[in-house]
């Protein structure tokens, strides 16, 4: 969110810091780090923007979930400069100015980064996609990463069903039926759940898992801002 102390800020691309960009707000001239939303220089130094929960989805998946949604239109005079749809994959071959070659990680390995319960972890994107459903813990929090029916979109949830004790076991369903509305089932209630983390049948019908913010990023950038991060999925490459 771009309201700080009741003032609405307008941001501009203003520079780069180890390949993560800097923003500058018109109203105070403060500089903000894009990945963290933290003001690092200027009158608002130290202030933190509030993160808005977001997804990175395939357009088809988003349209199916939000048929009444609206989409940012391209600006015709700049459209020739727009990236191709596989931009993030192509950028994996670009050089990085900082490296963290821990655990065999390459600078531009794509990871899904989660910070919660005082812990941070990078989940190797390719492994998550291959597994389709990943169960893990961050600190004391059980988390669930679920791959969408498009085989590319991923969401993260807290692995707790409202009103149900303990950490339920979830299992993947319908992997050979991409259009099926349910894609996982839990062992605690036998309910079937959709990609939005809501139960669509069974005793938990209507309940929704709590979403956890997750960032799809390159390893070097995630690691640079999460120095104590752990890694999931690097051991079997």
């Amino acid at each position: 969110m771009r309201n700080v102390d009741g003032r609405r800020l307008t941001f501009h691309l203003a520079g780069i810091n180890n390949q993560n960009f800097l923003m500058r707000d018109e109203e105070t001239g403060s500089y903000w780090q894009q990945i963290s939303g933290l003001a690092i220089s200027g009158p608002l130094k130290g202030r933190q923007l509030t993160l808005v929960l977001s997804d990175e989805l395939n357009f088809a998946t988003w349209k199916a979930e939000e048929p009444a949604g609206t989409v940012l239109k391209e600006v015709a005079k700049y459209a020739s400069g727009y990236e191709t749809k596989d931009w993030d994959m192509r950028m994996r071959h670009a050089a990085a100015v900082i490296q963290f070659p821990e655990h065999g990680m390459q600078s531009r390995d794509l990871v899904l980064g989660i910070q919660t319960a005082g812990a941070s972890r990078a989940f190797l994107y390719d492994r998550v996609i291959a597994e389709m459903l990943v169960k893990s813990y961050l600190g004391t929090q059980p988390v669930l990463l679920v791959v969408g029916p498009d085989g590319q979109s991923v969401r993260a949830f807290r692995d707790r069903i409202p009103g149900v004790d303990g950490v339920p076991d979830f299992y993947r369903l319908n992997m050979d039926q991409p259009g099926a509305p349910s894609l996982m089932i839990d062992a605690a209630t036998g309910s079937q759940w959709n990609f939005q983390g809501c139960a669509i049948s069974g005793s938990a019908k209507g309940a929704c898992l709590e979403r956890i913010p997750m960032l799809k990023d390159y390893w070097f950038n995630w690691r640079n801002y999460n120095p104590s991060t752990t890694i999931w999925g690097s051991g079997t490459r």
Partner: protein
């Protein structure tokens, strides 16, 4: 005007030029793509960038005053022209100190973001979007556009947000 007085005005002009050049060049040098930035040099560059906006204006005013004073000193014409050119350069640096080269030269900003229904945009089903939903309003920002513009200042469901990529 005595030789020492003319010299003084030249020194003022050179000092203005040095300050303005440093105010513009140092941030540009530090904050550039494909270069690792250290924490201290970045902090210094950002401070210089911010104060440089005012400092270069002060410097330009001082340079112009020095050039006018030197011009009146009846030095040889080529020297007066050189000093005048120096003052012009300091003024140009004052303009450059306020320029956002990233948006001017590299990635043009979204001045007035516009939105349309999904059926009315040119996107393939496997294009990727950044999606938010606030207060019942759903919005998608195509990544192929956001990878160019990098920032979209928007209001969704009554909440002002900045979508970034």
């Amino acid at each position: 005007m005595s030789f020492s007085a003319r010299t003084r005005w030249i020194l003022v002009l050179l000092a203005c030029l040095a300050v303005s050049l440093a105010s513009v060049a140092y941030p540009l040098y530090v904050i550039r793509p494909f270069r690792a930035q250290g924490a201290r040099e970045l902090a210094a560059a950002l401070v210089i960038s911010r104060i440089g906006r005012v400092l270069t204006v002060v410097s330009a005013l001082a340079a112009v005053a020095a050039a006018i004073a030197y011009w009146r000193a009846r030095a040889p014409m080529f020297r007066r022209i050189s000093v005048a050119a120096g003052a012009v350069l300091v003024c140009v640096l004052a303009v450059l100190a306020r320029a956002n080269f990233y948006e001017l030269l590299l990635f043009h900003p979204l001045e007035h973001p516009e939105f349309a229904a999904a059926a009315d945009v040119r996107l393939d089903d496997d294009d990727k979007v950044i999606a938010v939903k606030i207060g019942g309003s759903a919005r998608a920002y195509p990544i192929r556009e956001m990878a160019y513009h990098h920032v979209a200042n928007d209001v969704v469901g009554g909440t002002a947000l900045a979508a970034t990529y």
